[in-house]
């Protein structure tokens, strides 16, 4: 057995130094691991962003490539509508037309999403007639609402400006989506498209 004197002289400091060495080793390895972990996280984040950009680019390109022939299909449908068709053919052509437009809308939505993700969505503000736009939206949605037994009512406050500067295409898209969702998820019979000066575009449901 190692007695007091020997332990005091030969063990006291080597034991402490061994302990300190083990603790220093632990800390240095933890620090290295943390650094590597952070580096890996940054690399993963960069890879994810790259993949997302590639996905957006692919979607944008694919949507664009599909949109071009779709426009040809819609053009030909419109030409066919002006030709001599019987009732059955006209009904079928209407279905084809509606399906084509709905497909085109989906493609446009994908294209818009890709543009938003790529931060390339550009707004084109121009002076526009707000009342005419809102009326057009309600008119467009009327048949869709009627199919779902929802009656649309437009309220346009007199103090709203007639002309505003905005991107008419995007504003129409916003109103259409808003109203379409309001009609789709409405349990009431009346859906009001209420244009006010404070919250100048809102939809509200009234109890049936």
């Amino acid at each position: 057995m190692i007695e007091y004197d020997t332990a005091f002289v030969y063990f006291r400091w080597p034991s402490l130094l061994t302990s300190v060495a083990v603790v220093v080793l632990q800390m240095s390895i933890f620090a290295t691991m943390g650094e590597r972990h952070n580096r890996r996280l940054l690399e993963s984040n960069f890879d994810a962003q790259q993949s997302n950009r590639a996905k957006s680019a692919f979607l944008a390109s694919m949507s664009h490539e599909i949109r071009t022939p779709m426009n040809g299909v819609i053009g030909l449908i419109e030409m066919l509508e002006h030709s001599d068709l019987n009732d059955d053919q006209r009904r079928m052509l209407r279905t084809v037309r509606e399906s084509s437009f709905s497909l085109l809308r989906i493609i446009d939505d994908i294209l818009d999403t890709s543009k938003i993700e790529a931060r390339r969505l550009e707004l084109k503000p121009a002076p526009m007639d707000l009342l005419a736009l809102v009326e057009g939206v309600v008119e467009t949605m009327n048949s869709f609402a009627a199919d779902r037994n929802v009656q649309l009512r437009l309220k346009f406050e007199s103090d709203l400006p007639a002309w505003i500067t905005a991107d008419p295409g995007r504003l129409r898209q916003i109103f259409l989506n808003l109203l379409s969702n309001a009609v789709k998820f409405s349990s009431s019979l009346i859906e009001a498209f209420d244009c006010q000066s404070e919250v100048w575009a809102s939809t509200s449901s009234f109890g049936s």
């Binding site: 057995m1 190692i2 007695e3 007091y4 020997t6 332990a7 005091f8 030969y10 063990f11 006291r12 080597p14 034991s15 402490l16 061994t18 302990s19 300190v20 060495a21 083990v22 603790v23 080793l25 632990q26 390895i29 933890f30 691991m33 590597r36 890996r40």
Partner: protein, 149 residues
């Protein structure tokens, strides 16, 4: 064997190789420390200290070989066990003034060094519990020392 079921010896991807590298590096570190203690053992002519240090050196070589062959889980466990046994032997051999308990205190943190807290939580918990139990045993059993007053 229940512990082994939590992971494979050679974990997938960079994590596995990183752990194996840690096992190899720490075995080299223990080897260097063991050489110092072997010298101290020879200097004070204490066969037990020399043989403990020699045992640690041999174990370190074995750990290195295990890690080299992808058995890094076994290498890491052997590292912890051999170091704990060496410190425990020191406790039974050296007078308390030798601060052997401090080495055991440093050993309590060693599982964090060698095992993944995410994938090997059970192993870490068991080894830390054992190390704390050994440390408490060392702190509260001073009458075991067979030294002259």
């Amino acid at each position: 064997m229940a512990l082994r079921s939590f992971h494979s010896d050679n974990e997938n991807g960079s994590q596995g190789s990183r752990r194996a590298q840690t096992a190899k590096f720490t075995s080299a570190f223990v080897f260097a420390i063991a050489v110092v203690w072997l010298c101290i053992g020879v200097l004070i002519k204490e066969a037990l200290v020399s043989s403990t240090a020699a045992m640690l050196m041999l174990t370190s070589v074995f750990i290195y070989i295990l890690a080299q062959h992808g058995r890094d889980w076994w290498a890491r466990v052997l590292w912890i066990v051999s170091a704990t046994v060496a410190v425990l032997l020191g406790h039974f051999t050296v007078h308390p003034v030798g601060n052997v308990e401090v080495m055991m205190l440093a050993m309590v943190g060693a599982p964090f060094l060698l095992f993944s807290l995410r994938r090997e939580r059970t192993t870490v918990a068991i080894i830390i519990s054992l190390n704390i139990a050994v440390l408490l045993f060392m702190l509260f059993t001073p009458m075991i020392y067979l030294v002259r007053p």
